[in-house]
Amino acid sequence: MSIDFYGGIRALSKEILSGRTTPGELQAQSLRRIRERDGEIGAFVSVVDGKHDAHDELGWLAQLPSHATGGVAGHLFGIPFAVKDNMCVRGLETTCASRALRGFRPVYTGTAALKLLHSGATIMGTCNMDEFAMGSSTENSAVHPTHNPWRLSAVPGGSSGGSAAAVAAGMVPFALGSDTGGSIRQPAAFCGVVGLKPTYGLVSRYGLVAFASSLDQVGPLTHSVEDAAIVLSVIAGHDDRDSTTVPGRTRDYVSALTGDLTGLRVGVAQEYLGEGLADGVRTRFMEAVELMRSRGAVVINVSLPHTPHALSAYYLIAPAEASSNLARFDGVRYGHRAQSVDALLDLYQRSRSEGFGPEVKRRILIGTYALSAGYYDAYYRRAQQVRTLILQDFEQAFADVDVIVSPTAPTTAFAIGEKAADPLAMYQSDVGTIPANLAGLPAISVPCGFVDGLPVGLQMIAGLFEEATLLRAAHAYEQAAGFSPLRPSLCEEVN
């Protein structure tokens, strides 16, 4: 029997509950799709075939205090999923797509993955990414580049490009990604899937290899907003292993999905529609806004005047934090160690030089420079002050609107190699997604049509911990627009 992952988690769950399929059959189907399609897409770094050590964690988990189980979590029983290759799952090689971590097998499982396993979901493997999540195309992977299922010569976006491509190509019903400057939303837009970055502090990062700790957040990539709500309901919540997580902020997000846009106040900021935005993307965006207006939403112009400085602030703050976080990769406790060195400092320098790729080195050096004596005030502190101004812009805007909409990325998926040699051109790809990270706000990308055969993403941003509003708006738009789920022609069923 052929089972389709595009119909969503709830439909798959019904199949299991009615006895028409089993978790084992879904796992086998996922493996079949990975074998059929991943040769040309390259979404996975490692694939789990059969029962995995990670499931042994469950005995240990039973000793933990209260956990997200119950109604919504029940939908995930037997559902296959994948994680980005920067999320620790015990015993499953986790490399951050870097030579620096080749062969590294975590000795514990991170909280988000553990909660999914506890809900009965089945882990299928780890997905490709830009090395240490630094990039917007999944070309900066030391393993292999990932190809976009909509057009194999195009990038899937990044850095969670493997997770987005795996979902888009029907290999798994959903995957986890991480989003530091757009790394869930931009690949979701490029691959025609839904990508959600929750509020900073809603989902535990315990077990996520840190890139920029004041920005990193874990979230799902799915075929629909409802699936994103199901996964979020399970992975959200306080965790005393991540001090940024907040008690008492979670809920059943699925019940927030009313399908109704009436009276929703939708903000449009001209700052997101400036130079660099492709005409076709602008057209699809304006159509989406008009559709929401026609369904009862109130469209309001808002101003986010410091948006033009967000990219600069981000590309100082994130590298500064990365330069500190990545100091741990020194060849001593795990990861790549240089051979034939006879002094400790030499071991550090050679191991890191051999382990890190060019973009990671660039960002560590920029970050180290921004934090170094004489430059801290001019760069790092100034970037953090601009961050305050960006936060204030959003606070003012959200006094008048419920969500702010924008194109997720300024273009559709670009060709592999097109921006690989120009870091600044690559950074521009994140111009629409970075502000939400700087402000800690929840944001989602949903498909809003095509330009020349490639998907376009609509981004919605909401206020802090307003995931219910965000998902309600995104779901209502999705229902009205009728684009999701999208199936690339490459992935049409042949049997």
Binding site: Y200, Y315, G331, R333, R382, Q385, V386
Partner: protein
């Protein structure tokens, strides 16, 4: 902002990353361009505001400081490149250049 080769070499030393001469050339070019791009921050007005360190406006509550079981030593050492007597083994520290 034009960096020099010496700037890049100094920063690489601070970051404990060995860079070969051809890499230095490329890094001088790339890092200078990135800093040039970021120079728009120098033009922003109203920077009397306090810096924002993270997105957690809710604060960061700490957990109670209680003794709990930790990972067994063998698991902690499982990924180590070199181990001796339950310790991470490294080359000699003495004789190292500061």
């Amino acid at each position: 902002m034009q960096l020099s080769k010496e700037d890049v070499t100094r920063v690489a030393a601070l970051a404990h990353i060995h860079v070969e001469p051809p890499e230095v050339e490329a890094l001088v070019r790339d890092l200078s361009r990135i800093l040039d791009y970021a120079s728009d921050l120098l033009q922003v007005e109203g920077l009397s505001v306090l810096p924002t360190l993270h997105g957690a406006k809710q604060g960061m509550p700490l957990r109670p400081d209680q003794v709990r079981p930790s990972l067994p030593v063998q698991r902690v050492l499982a990924n180590a490149p070199d181990v001796e007597d339950n310790c991470f083994r490294v080359p000699p520290v003495l004789g190292d250049n500061p």
